[in-house]
Subunit: 247 residues, 2 copies
């Protein structure tokens, strides 16, 4: 951890404002002109802090807003009646949560903070109203939803067609890319989720995840120490995907 310069906190500084936000490039405003982005400032209904392990929303909650992660990270999951959990995604800063609620006006999954986090609240009625006026916002929002669908297809590919080590390699590459996009190291990062949560996401048991990590370490692909990951051979990981066991 690094000491950071003390910055005076002012009301201005705390104001919710897409136009001032350094996550623009990762978030809903991505690709919009400065002028259009200024209009978004009116869109955000406020912020909300969510402590580690607290829910942002639960299955069945009335749907009113979507959320943009400002700091921290979340998981979304679905529960089967007998208690089995399926993690459907992990969300980092700039990513949008809550799209599942639009279809039935109620949330269909749970969103839980993996660490102390905070989010921008975007009342959905506002978003629809404004996106009828601001074409670029409309288009961006459609892209965000479509991207989620494409991501889900990738997960289906993972779950339906890959073996354990391929799944974990794909997961690590994906995490690395997302950390990179946020200005963090591509090679060294700290996972916020447990082995069990990774396993649930990847359709594996936690022991299998742990063993795959160990195997990667033995093969010099990564260095693991609990949640801390250092990627030593990204090419090797990618090779695991573009197929074939050891060719």
């Amino acid at each position: 951890m690094q000491q950071r310069a003390v910055v005076p906190i002012t009301v201005e500084g705390l104001k919710t404002a897409c136009s001032q936000c350094n996550l623009q490039e990762l978030c809903l405003p991505f690709g919009m002109s400065d002028g259009d982005i200024d209009q978004l400032d009116a869109l955000v209904g406020g912020r909300r802090k969510v402590k580690r392990h607290q829910h942002l929303y639960r299955v069945g909650d009335a749907f009113e807003s979507i959320y943009a992660v400002r700091t921290g990270s979340f998981k979304t999951d679905v529960l089967l009646e007998d208690g089995r959990e399926q993690v459907t995604g992990f969300q980092m800063s700039g990513e949008i949560l809550g799209l599942d609620g639009i279809s039935t006006d109620a949330h269909t999954c749970n969103a839980v903070a993996l660490e102390d986090s905070d989010v921008c609240i975007i009342p959905f009625a506002n978003l629809e109203t404004l996106s009828r006026e601001v074409e670029s916002l409309q288009h961006q929002f459609h892209k965000v939803m479509s991207r989620e669908i494409v991501r889900d297809h990738g997960v289906m590919m993972l779950l339906g067609s890959m073996r354990a080590e391929e799944r974990l390699a794909a997961f690590l590459i994906n995490m690395s890319q997302r950390f990179t996009a946020r200005g963090f190291s591509a090679a060294e990062f700290h996972l916020r989720m447990t082995r069990e949560e990774i396993g649930s996401y990847l359709g594996l048991k936690l022991e299998t995840v742990s063993r795959a990590f160990s195997r990667f370490q033995e093969n010099g692909l990564i260095a693991v120490q609990q949640k801390h990951i250092r990627i030593r051979d990204i090419g090797g990981l990618k090779a695991l995907l573009s197929h074939l066991p050891s060719v």
Copy 2:
């Protein structure tokens, strides 16, 4: 096959028109007022026939339109470079295809007709323009996308957390519900896809699918004859889901 009455074919009769379409309740216009639906007639850019095994679109094709299935059915899939296929969905009449393309302006999966089919072409630029004017259309479209995301979560649950027989039971129940919604029998229907395609969708090998069908038949849950399915005990199938092997 049944002889059908000869109906005179006129230009009127062939005209694309949501307001005249009997799929309204299942398709994009669902929930919209008659007045609003009339405006959709301008939206549809035409129709397209797709023969069995032909592609409606392929990975990489430029994205310009989404499609509503009028007759027939489709599968969508994603291919891994080593040839592994993951079927990401099966689409029936009234369902929307092509939403994956919005995110990158190019399609990210393949859509293939399972039988001779035809679709309405909905140019996406038109849809965005019109949905800036017609609030109910905008909202419906958002619901359609969200529903797709929720469906995908269900598939993740299937693939990540269920065993083979649970997956197939969920698949059969889902098909039954969708046939029912279309006015067909809930208990007796004809599958358009092969065992291999079902297996790919469910993350199983075709032999496993075949064996699970046979097991269901032995247990009096269904009667199978190739692609023809008759459900004899829908409660029994549902019981397989709400859990626990034989309790």
